[in-house]
């Protein structure tokens, strides 16, 4: 897997490099290295230094290569960085390739017996007798593998000068309350650290130093953030079918719901969770619940989206609220289930046969995973339609530093629901009549105690009274109203985030997890190449006015996305055919998270031609 640790930094050995490097740990999945990597990351975080963590894991359960990368960035960059500065090569299967792909001058920490110094002499090797040290840490053969992971934490800690106290705090947090485990691990770290202090001579430039940039910040993945958002948005019927990388959203949500949404006194739950038999059933259950009035949701990934196609079209046509998370992974088909992608944008937006399109939210940070979860429920209820939230594996499953989430101030928007009393007052009720002229009709919930309240929901042609019809004008009326409703949604969905640079000739448009790479790339373009850019981060479909203005006011607009077919670029072209030729494309689609250098290079290359 030579690209993974690829393109190591060509840092020169002169001077100190402080709080600006990346560490990659290559291990075997199922070997328990996750705790150690977490401890390493958190210790640095606790020192006030911005960090982010990316886990590159295989689509199996145990025994295959895994890489965990910690980026330490004093400037707060949290996108993937291509260059690996410090490699901890624990996996004999990949160690050779991993070390080969480093740039001269990088650091390699490895088990002594691997003899990686024979593979390359132009990187700085620290060779560690992990076996001996692990034997010192425990008598139990079984535990040695696990503790070896903590030993490298000690070694790295010593080399980088991570505060030992912070490592201790992180370990206590990691193994909350389990005293024996904590002691064992602390001891292992110490063994590693002590050995390193005595035996290694620091001959590389990498150091951490305390800062104050993480105070009040949290570390969280996007799926957990979305789960929290769902809970506070009042999700009450949650249906799901396990699939990577979406499962952890519902699994985390279940944990939180059990903790915060079961009445302490009565033991009664204000939610129902169902593990469905598949995605067709999951979305069917969500639609049934949405129809009956619950705040319903489901979460899936690409293959699930495809399976939901028929039902999602049903939801669009019959106007039933529900929220569908798509945590995108690499497609088509099964694709690469543990790699990231943004290639479901177009398929989700147009999901189902016939003329359909769906409100689609595009969170670009863990904060937005939290916030847009809430927005999604409100929009689903307001527009009585399935709403997609498109996250991805990088955003959903990796560790991101973020500001604390703020408690939602706005009350729920439950949309246009008529009660028996209201019907009584109005004296009539027609399910699919556009009373307000915004394309959104009133609905009633089953169980409403009024003789006029009931209506019949059907995926076949229906008139304003929800009666069956095959009349051409009824159909036109319905389809045109659905279009009008969709237009109304333009001003309700989250607006794009725009950073306009008045001197910039070129603009960048991106969405979702590409955001942090774009931010960093803009700095690179500015600092390295004196290229000023404006930036519009799209946060939802359908588009709102800002996008057109943005494109109009720049000479060229680069649409950065993580798919092969330039899906967002194309959707924008359809929205503004008159400006189509201004739209350029930057596409990153090899399954790894996009990085700033890629964006910078791609833009510069096209700018040279422009």
């Amino acid at each position: 897997m030579k690209t993974l640790a690829a393109e190591s930094a060509s840092k020169q050995g002169t001077g100190r490099i402080v709080n600006d490097f990346s560490i990659q740990v290559g291990t075997v999945n199922g070997s328990g290295s996750q705790s150690s990597n977490n401890v390493l990351m958190r210790s640095i975080f606790q020192m006030g230094i911005p960090v982010s963590g990316k886990n590159l894991f295989p689509s199996n359960i145990a025994g295959l290569p895994t890489w965990f990368t910690i980026r330490v960035s004093k400037d707060g960059y949290i996108a993937r960085k291509r260059e690996i500065d410090i490699l901890v090569a624990m996996n004999p299967q990949t160690a050779h390739d991993d070390v080969k792909s480093l740039q001269p001058g990088a650091v390699c920490i490895s088990p002594a017996e691997m003899k990686l110094d024979l593979v390359r002499s132009d990187v700085k090797h620290y060779q560690v007798p992990f076996g001996d040290l692990a034997a010192r840490a425990t008598d139990q053969i079984k535990l040695r593998k696990l503790l070896t992971n903590m030993i490298y934490v000690g070694v790295v800690g010593q080399l980088l000068e991570i505060d030992q106290a912070e490592i201790e705090t992180a370990i206590r947090k990691q193994f909350e309350g389990k005293v024996k485990v904590i002691d064992l691990n602390l001891n292992a770290v110490k063994i590693g650290r002590d050995w390193a202090k005595e035996s290694l001579k620091k001959e590389d430039p990498y150091y951490v130093e305390k800062m104050d940039k993480t105070a009040g910040k949290i570390i969280i993945d996007g799926n957990a953030a979305a789960a929290i958002g769902c809970m506070f948005a009042g999700a009450s019927v949650v249906t799901w079918y396990p699939i990577t990388p979406s499962s952890s959203l519902c699994e985390t949500l279940i944990d939180y719901l059990k903790q915060y949404r079961i009445d302490k006194k009565t033991g009664k739950a204000s939610f129902a969770v169902i593990q469905a038999e598949d995605e067709l059933a999951a979305v069917g259950m969500a639609l049934g619940a949405g129809w009956a009035g619950a705040r319903s949701m489901t979460s899936t990934s690409g293959p699930g989206i495809s399976l939901m196609a028929e039902f999602v079209g049903y939801g669009y046509f019959t106007e039933i609220p529900t929220v569908i998370f798509d945590i995108q992974r690499v497609g088509p088909s099964t694709g690469m289930p543990t790699r990231t992608s943004q290639a479901d944008l177009l398929p989700a937006y147009f999901l189902s046969h016939g003329d359909t399109k769906h409100i689609t939210l595009l969170p670009g940070s863990v904060e937005e995973c939290y916030e847009m979860a809430g927005a999604a429920f409100d929009l689903a209820d307001r527009f009585q339609t399935p709403v997609f939230v498109l996250s991805d594996l990088d955003l959903g499953m990796n560790n991101w530093m973020a500001d604390q989430f703020t408690y939602p101030e706005k009350p729920f928007d439950r949309g246009k629901v008529l009660t028996a009393e209201q019907i009584e007052k109005i004296g009539k009720f027609e399910r699919y009549r556009d009373v307000d002229g915004d394309g959104i009709c009133y609905r009633t919930l089953p169980g409403t105690n009024h003789p006029l309240a009931a209506y019949f929901t059907r995926g076949s042609g229906h008139n304003e009274k929800a009666g069956y019809t095959e009349r051409p004008e009824d159909y036109l009326n319905l389809m045109d109203r659905l279009n009008k409703k969709f237009d109304t949604a333009r001003s309700y969905v989250p607006k794009p985030a725009v950073d306009r640079n008045p001197t910039a000739k070129i603009g960048i448009v991106a969405f979702g997890s590409s955001h942090f790479a774009v931010e960093e790339s803009r700095d690179q373009l500015r600092d390295e190449e004196k290229v000023a850019t404006s930036y519009l981060r799209l946060r939802a479909l359908p588009f709102s006015d800002e996008l057109r203005k943005f494109v109009e006011t720049h000479d060229r607009v680069y649409v950065v996305e993580q798919n092969r077919d330039a899906q967002l670029r194309d959707l924008i072209r359809l929205e503004m055919p008159d400006l189509a030729m201004k739209l350029m494309s930057v596409k990153h689609y090899n399954g790894l998270p996009i990085d700033a250098r890629f964006v910078t290079d791609a833009i510069l290359e096209q700018e040279r031609k422009a």
Binding site: I218, G234, S270, A289, H450
Partner: protein
């Protein structure tokens, strides 16, 4: 006649004009049917209307669901005062599951066809039976796809013939056998041409807490009512072998039973209603799951068309109860119950720092 069980207290005889909640039969009707004249499905619709009327169910508390097919159109033809949901082909069970979670106070009745349930819908059927979601699940079984013009379905009998002469050479799926196998706690078979039995079974099904599964042979007069069909009126009438005569006494009526000891089995339903099964041909214990299965198997072997309450287990826990939901339906909960307080968010944030 088990009807005599209730007759002693005078509730039988001509149906009264209004039921216990003061509604008339008309209040339980739907829009006019657009099915073919004589279609078995319409006969079943009439009994559904009657069952709800006689039980005095509040129509607005009913949710009526279906998939796609001629059979699945029928919810439009009963209970106009109930919300209806004509879903996609074969997917009614998932909709019912969601509706049941959102509002467990609703009484759900779903109508499906043999194509809808035994072909495309098989996966969802199996899983709703396994979960035991409270609902009445009626399959209007005619052995063909009516709405798409008469192709064989998976319940068509081996050797039965289409009008064109094409013979079915695949064995049928016995939906009742399957339901029993999956542990469904209310399994019955009936016939659109046997309204008396059907209405009693429907009432019992409505009283049951959990999935009540009814496989009702419902002839398709247009595509599967000819000689050589085993789902025709003629065939079913001749072959029907009721296991018992069924009487139903709702919880709001007093029971005054008058029968020879040993000749009637009594089942007490969840809501306090009673089902009386008057033995016809020897003993049949509908609470014995293995026996139910054996009986179905043997009837099929003997090409017997056995009807009645095949299996019932009033103790099996239903899915909704297991979840221990708030008394108020989830769908009606407000922000105060659905959004935890700020302290909860603070606590979570703290744990992530």
């Amino acid at each position: 006649m088990v009807d005599s069980v209730t007759a002693t207290k005078g509730t039988a005889g001509p149906t009264p004009a209004t039921n216990r909640i003061g509604l008339t039969l008309a209040d339980y009707k739907g829009s006019p049917s657009t099915l073919c004249d004589g279609c078995g499905h319409d006969a079943i619709t009439s009994q559904i209307i009657k069952a709800f009327f006689e039980l005095g169910v509040e129509p607005h508390m009913v949710a009526k669901l279906s998939g796609i097919g001629c059979s699945s159109k029928t919810p439009a033809y009963f209970l106009n005062r109930a919300h209806g949901f004509n879903s996609t082909h074969g997917r009614m069970p998932s909709i019912a599951t969601g509706v049941g979670m959102a509002n467990s106070q609703l009484i759900q009745i779903g109508v499906s066809g043999d194509g809808d349930s035994a072909s495309i819908g098989m996966g969802q059927l199996v899983h709703i039976l396994r979960r035991n979601i409270p609902m009445v699940y009626v399959v209007e079984n005619n052995g063909v796809y009516g709405l798409t013009k008469g192709q064989f379905s998976a319940t068509a009998d081996l050797g039965s013939k289409l009008k064109s002469g094409v013979m079915n050479d695949l064995p049928p799926i016995d939906l009742c056998g399957l339901a029993v196998e999956l542990g469904c706690a209310f399994v019955a078979r009936s016939f659109a041409g046997d309204p008396k039995q059907l209405v009693s079974l429907l009432k019992a099904a409505i009283s049951h807490k959990g999935t009540a599964f009814l496989d009702v042979i419902s002839p398709c007069v247009t595509f599967n009512n000819h000689d050589g069909s085993t789902k025709s009126y003629k065939y079913a009438k001749e072959a029907e072998t009721p296991l018992h005569e069924i009487g139903y006494v709702p919880f709001f009526e007093q029971i005054a039973v008058d029968y020879e000891p040993g000749s009637v089995t009594e089942v007490k339903m969840h809501d306090g209603s009673h089902v009386f099964l008057k033995k016809l041909h020897g003993d049949y214990d509908p609470t014995d799951r293995l026996n139910a299965h054996t009986t179905i198997f043997k009837a099929n072997q003997d090409k017997q068309f056995l009807t009645g309450l095949l299996y019932i287990d009033e103790k099996k826990p239903d899915f909704t109860s297991q979840l221990n939901l708030t008394d108020q339906p989830l769908a009606l909960l407000k922000e105060d119950s659905l959004r935890p307080p700020k302290e909860a968010l603070d606590e979570i944030m703290q744990s992530l720092m």
